[in-house]
């Protein structure tokens, strides 16, 4: 019984890395996990911003460190909590029939290639922006061998890890 997925459903599945059916149980658990992560982040940002307001003064360096700390907390704090909670409840596991297994793997491969290209472009933009800030000639830098090697290595590592993780979420069953 397949119904067309709404944009909201697709977004939730993409954000939390769910490939299978987003049924009511999964949805309620993801809502709970997302709500917990939101509450943790809300209080962290509230407290850290108030503290930073008193401490920062005119120090640009401190502000940079504060922003970096927030980013690290976002990725390793709430991000890791979400990943661990999803894995603990096995919400990431997708059951695939032996008949559809190959086509599902192909679909995941195509999706991961698209994702890798997108993430690599974002990576290159950030890389180029940071180099431009340091006074490098942007046009010559973007097409330089160093940039191409960095982008290629990043894409290969990111793509490979994504693919291995996504394939490991599949569980094949016989019809």
């Amino acid at each position: 019984m397949k119904t067309k997925e709404s944009f909201s459903t697709k977004s939730i599945k993409y954000f939390y890395g769910i490939d299978g059916e987003l049924d009511e149980y999964r949805r309620s658990e993801l809502n709970r996990i997302g709500n917990n992560a939101y509450m943790i982040l809300f209080y962290y940002l509230l407290i850290s911003t108030i503290v930073a307001e008193f401490v920062v003064g005119n120090s640009f360096r401190f502000l940079q460190n504060y922003l970096m700390l927030n980013l690290l907390f976002l990725i390793f704090g709430s991000g890791m909590y979400t990943v661990v909670a999803i894995h603990r409840l096995k919400l990431h596991i997708t059951d695939v029939s032996a008949m559809n297994y190959k086509s599902v793997r192909r679909m995941i491969l195509k999706r991961d290639i698209r994702r890798t290209v997108l993430v690599t472009i974002i990576y290159c933009i950030f890389f180029a922006m940071s180099m431009a800030r340091e006074g490098a000639n942007l046009a010559s830098f973007v097409f330089s061998p160093a940039m191409l090697i960095a982008a290629g290595s990043f894409a290969a590592i990111f793509g490979f890890i994504s693919l291995v993780i996504d394939y490991s979420h599949l569980r094949r069953y016989k019809d």
Partner: protein
Amino acid sequence: MNRVKEYRTELKISQIKLASEIGVARQTINMIENDKYNPSLDLCIKLAKALGTDLNQLFWEE
């Protein structure tokens, strides 16, 4: 304690088959059978229909 597992095994249906029949994940059926998740009324009705029984038989505790 519901009788979803009892009815499912009686009909010799796997969790995966039942799950795909009513459009949920296998984990959801597993959680319902182990009383770790209270399904919505809509899902209860789908389960009862798929297992060829009614809500009283499936969920009512004597």
